[in-house]
Symmetry: C2
Subunit: 274 residues, 2 copies
């Protein structure tokens, strides 16, 4: 095998590591790939660690021990996260996106690949330490950001449905009370989707009363799964009291009615981003 230069090794390693975030690669993987010595590979990693830090691209971490190696984490610094979310808030605030009934149109934000990737990285940064085994979301609008969060955490995504489908196999159904409307709804999850004893991070697009979120927590209890956190793209400031506690939302939404009966959305970054 022809010798691969450091230049080439570093850029290939950067791509491979960042394509599988939070996944430990052994040094030997790269030694074999590039035909280089362990000491050389270690030096390569030291350089990469400095580069990602310097350009705010994330973090390269070395894990010691028998199952050790190196991994990339899409760690977003608090100040960069706040600035990014502030930019989204500026886009969403105002009258243009308010729909009849005081709803806010932000489906485009919720399904944009670049925006959801960044939002997923910001959420993952907060939950790396909780080491979830999977991310759970409830169909439909939260799926993209739940996927990008799962990607950053290096874990699978599990999607709960409104009803059980023939192509999901036997399922656990629960009923829950919608926090805002008070109506009874159903949530369903395939039996084989998760295993007892696992740890789960809940990610969804919107938190108002917290009924759906509470439903997801209850669903996980049915499966004997521990919920390590609940995260949302947007939460309303009203009602202040939600059916769940300890959640982290990226943005807070207030809709005020003006004198001329139009409505204005005021969207701001959540307090924990300050």
């Amino acid at each position: 095998m022809e010798k691969v230069r450091r230049n080439e090794r570093l850029s290939a390693m950067m791509k491979i590591l960042s394509d599988s975030p939070n996944h430990i690669f052994t040094l030997s993987t790269f030694c074999d790939m590039f035909g280089s010595a362990k000491s050389t590979t270690s030096e390569d990693i030291d350089i990469l660690r400095i580069v990602v830090k310097e350009f705010g691209l994330g973090e390269i971490e070395t894990v010691t021990g028998a199952a050790g190696g190196v991994m990339f984490r899409a760690q977003v610094e608090k100040s960069a996260a706040r600035e990014y979310i502030q930019g989204l808030c500026d886009q969403l605030s105002g009258t243009a996106r308010v729909l009849p009934g005081g709803f806010l149109y932000y489906s485009d934000i919720l399904s944009h690949p670049v925006i959801t990737r960044k939002m997923g990285e910001i959420l993952a940064t907060e939950y790396y330490d909780t080491e979830p085994d999977f991310v759970l979301t409830m169909e439909t609008k939260g799926i993209p950001v739940a996927l990008t969060t799962a990607n950053a955490l290096g874990v699978p995504l599990v999607i709960a449905r409104h009803s059980s489908k023939v192509y999901e196999g036997s399922a656990v159904n629960i009923n829950y009370v919608s926090g805002s409307s008070g109506s009874i709804q159903t949530m369903s999850l395939a039996r084989r989707a998760v295993q007892e004893g696992q740890h789960c991070l809940i990610v969804d697009d919107f938190l108002k009363g917290g009924g759906t979120a509470k439903g997801m927590v209850d669903l996980m209890h049915e499966f004997g799964v521990e919920v390590v956190g609940t995260a949302f793209v947007m939460a309303t400031t009203q009602p202040q009291r939600k059916r769940i506690a300890g959640e982290k939302s990226l943005m807070l939404l207030d809709v005020t009615t003006n004198a001329d009966d139009t409505q204005t959305a005021i969207v701001r970054p959540a307090a924990w981003l300050k």
Copy 2:
């Protein structure tokens, strides 16, 4: 600004380019970022081009002209694509995943971040030339792979719903006939989600009769949008005649009933991957 070494520049550029696939960066962006000359940056790009090619990580392309620059494409070679899809087919084939009614359980595959990224890259490779403005999918199961395809193509994702929702604003609803069951269903898309004259790539998880796919094509016609392609994760071999034509699926599914009344799934890569 301290001078950034080539080592460092290359790995940072690799990460930045691959984080925004199919997006053109001007040379000046990188010159400004690293304080390096245009000629130096050009050399950097030449090195990166060779690296990604050599390690099968995609392609770095230079675009000439006024709006020119450099971009990364997650181009997957046909042989690598076939091998990857064959691996998935091996996982899905057999009796373990067949559900009552001959349905195949593969929701875990459809929502796994790493698998959907690779599938999205394979699909994007086929449709780079068609230059879609967005990817359209129908809720729910196709959303992750539609998102990763949109990400690879560097375009937004648009999600059609089964019914119009208050938080989507005014919407266009169409009725369509389900290809497999023959029942009438509704599909809805927010008016502001797409614009007349745009080009759209349809991506979904499953193609049987093609009724839903045909519905999506009709929906796009309602919006004055041209459909440049239809792509699916899985297509059934029966019925052979679908309500749409020219589709590309990654996998083909056959379910056979055995003498003991159990059912076996035979999943294989589609012919165009050969």
